[in-house]
């Protein structure tokens, strides 16, 4: 009986030894990594300068419709009548008819401001993030339409499903207190609050 007790003790001793080293290991890993963390949290964002508007954002996001949507940087907009983001390139007439619109879901609203300027609004509920208008605007216009991850929708996945399939490698983690990578947007900070 005493022999058996001895055996148990040996096993217990070994177990606590291993337990201690595992705890040390986990603590070590956590400690090393804690050194590398930063207080602020990070979120996913796409860099419009790298984006090639391939249209994958609309499909690859874990959400349907995608958390990537077109964001209009009004500061950059020329308020053109002949808008490359709104109209199909070879459209005959400048009208708001569906056949002359570039957007497959009619998510851009065109409002007359004054001769000859028009203002374009993205209707969030309709936008699927396909980037067709972004491509048109970048090619013909100022590039005021830009694709962005909308953080009110994004669930901030561990590894962004669009990022790993993005052919242009345009996705990156950005600090959560400055979560948009818009170009030419002067009211970035103000509009946040």
């Amino acid at each position: 009986m005493s022999e058996k007790k001895d055996k148990m003790n040996r096993r217990d001793f070994m177990n606590s030894g291993i337990r201690f080293s595992v705890a040390l290991g986990i603590g070590g890993i956590a400690g090393t990594l804690l050194n590398k963390t930063q207080k602020q949290s990070y979120v996913w964002q796409l860099d419009p300068e790298k984006c090639i508007q391939c249209g994958q954002c609309a499909d690859k996001c874990v959400l349907t419709p995608s958390a990537v949507k077109c964001v209009h940087v009004y500061d950059m907009c020329g308020y053109c009548d002949l808008c490359g983001g709104y109209l199909r390139p070879n459209t005959k007439e400048i009208t708001t008819a569906a056949e002359s619109q570039l957007c497959p879901t009619s998510a851009i609203e065109r409002r007359f401001i004054e001769e000859p300027f028009f203002e374009y609004h993205i209707i969030d509920e309709l936008c699927i993030g396909c980037g067709k208008c972004v491509k048109g605007c970048a090619a013909f216009g100022n590039g005021s339409l830009q694709l962005q991850v909308r953080h009110d929708i994004c669930v901030n996945c561990n590894e962004c499903a669009i990022a790993r399939d993005c052919p242009a490698d345009a996705f990156e983690r950005v600090p959560a207190d400055n979560p948009y990578l818009l170009t030419g947007n002067s009211n970035n900070k103000e509009s946040k609050s």
Binding site: N15, S16, V22, A23, I26, I29, T32, L34, K36, T37, S41, Y42, E49, I52, C54, V62, L63, T64, V71, V73, Y74, D75, M76, G78, Y79, C80, L82, N90, I113, E114, F117, E119, D124, A138, A139, N142, G143, S144, Q146, R150, H151, D152, C154, V155, N156, C157, N158, E159, R164, P167, A168, R173, A176, P179, Y180, T183, N185, N187, N188, S191
Partner: protein, 423 residues
């Protein structure tokens, strides 16, 4: 007027060819005479950082509560309701992300890539369940892990799996873990997240294939309890190993086992070890000789595995996007504009040089060569140790849970007729 429009269209068509560049103020922003003010650009804030803290807090609290249910209260009902809560919160509300299973990839990525800033939340999600397992067994698996919890409610008609099959299938999680670490370390992909079969249910959104795989796993789970946890989960591998040395663990009986055999078939996961009578003890010399042979064979397994892994490294590396791109470009194919793969278009517009890409791809393939060796050595070791563990005789008097494979679900506890001792 018509001529003017035609002129503009021609200009546009030309510019489409020339400029594919981005954001140039070709047309100045107008000054409005009607006093129109420009609307602000919409940039909503991300979820408040406070929520991350809440997630970690809820993980901590729920782990403590379920551990209390399992070890102190001995209540299967409590475990069940905790798994329902976990499915609701970590599953449907948080949409299955961040989860501890996936977090091991972030940990790997952070260890191998100094420029990746890992969030503290992810470290907590990785470490907390391991610490709890170290002290109390796999209480995380019992009902806090949303992936385990959703399978657990599908355990309706569990059937025993043959021991040899269980052992063979039990090697898959190790392979999965090795590959997940390899691909995370080489910055290639997070395969655990990509092939997560249940997250699609939590988000009501997945590709057809993933829905099908998830659905099939859940249906299989009716008969073969928790197939993902037992035969795939890579985080379960870590918890399995850690749990073997846990300080405390779920016990089938609250006091002394009377060997009534009532609990014998109660475990849907086959994790109850039956008593081994002393007379079954085999010839000591034979056992020792077999142990020595297996101990010699194990390094050979490792070498063979490592060599195989290293020979296979180019195929392993093909998952990497950069390697794929370099390979595709090196074929020097010409595409029609419409048919050109978007990756190649993207590369051409990015202005990177082909040589740089090839260099990067070579470095990645070299990493995979080393990685292939390590993965192979590891899998060989797992093979060897699995055989060794099968050959080791362990004397046991009572019905005990296997500390490694027991998921601490607590189903066996109500089968035990022994009343707890009153202190």
């Amino acid at each position: 007027m018509n001529k003017k429009i035609a002129y503009i269209i021609v200009f546009i068509l030309i510019s489409f060819q020339i400029y594919n560049t981005y954001a140039i103020q070709r047309f100045p922003k107008p000054e409005f005479e009607s006093g129109h003010t420009q609307p602000p650009t919409i940039t909503p804030d991300p979820r408040a950082a406070m929520w991350d803290t809440i997630d970690v807090f809820i993980l901590f609290v729920s782990l403590s509560v379920i551990t209390w249910f399992i070890l102190k209260k001995r209540s299967r009902k409590g475990v069940f309701w905790m798994s329902i809560l976990s499915i609701i919160y970590f599953g449907f509300f948080r949409e299955g992300c961040v989860c501890s299973v996936g977090s091991l990839q972030n940990i790997t990525l952070a260890l191998f890539n100094p420029d990746y800033h890992i969030p503290i939340t992810v470290i907590a999600f990785f470490a907390l369940p391991i610490i709890y397992t170290l002290f109390f067994g796999r209480t995380f698996c019992a009902g806090i892990c949303p992936l385990g919890a959703i399978q657990d409610i599908f355990v309706l008609k569990p059937m025993p799996v043959k021991a040899w099959l269980e052992k063979v299938l039990g090697i898959f999680p190790f392979i999965y873990l090795a590959l997940a670490v390899l691909y995370a370390a080489t910055k290639t992909d997070f395969i655990i997240c990509r092939y997560d079969p249940f997250v699609g249910f939590f988000r009501f959104n997945a590709t057809f294939t993933m829905f099908a795989i998830g659905g099939i796993l859940l249906l299989i789970g009716i008969f073969i309890a928790r197939p993902y946890c037992r035969f795939l989960c890579p985080y379960g591998v870590i918890l399995n190993l850690v749990s073997r040395v846990s300080k405390k663990h779920l016990t089938i009986t609250p006091a002394e086992c009377i060997q009534c055999r009532l609990c014998e078939d109660s475990c849907p996961f086959g994790a109850i070890e039956k008593p081994v009578p002393a007379k079954m003890k085999e010839n000591k010399d034979f056992a020792i000789r077999r142990f020595i042979i297996l101990a010699v064979i194990t390094p050979l397994f490792m070498l063979a595995g490592g060599y195989a892994g290293s020979q296979f490294h180019e195929n392993l590396a093909k998952v990497n996007h950069k390697v794929q791109l370099a390979e595709e470009l090196s074929k020097n194919k010409t595409y029609e504009t419409e048919l050109e793969p978007i990756e190649i278009t993207a590369f051409k517009t990015s202005g990177k040089s082909l040589d740089d890409l090839y260099k990067e791809a070579t470095i990645i393939i070299d990493e995979f060569y080393i990685g292939g060796w390590i993965v192979g050595l590891f899998i060989g070791l797992v093979f060897g140790l699995t055989l060794l563990s099968l050959s080791v005789y362990r004397y046991r008097e009572d019905y005990e849970p296997n500390k490694g494979t027991c998921l601490s679900c607590g189903r066996c506890m109500k089968y035990c007729p022994v009343k707890p001792e009153i202190d």
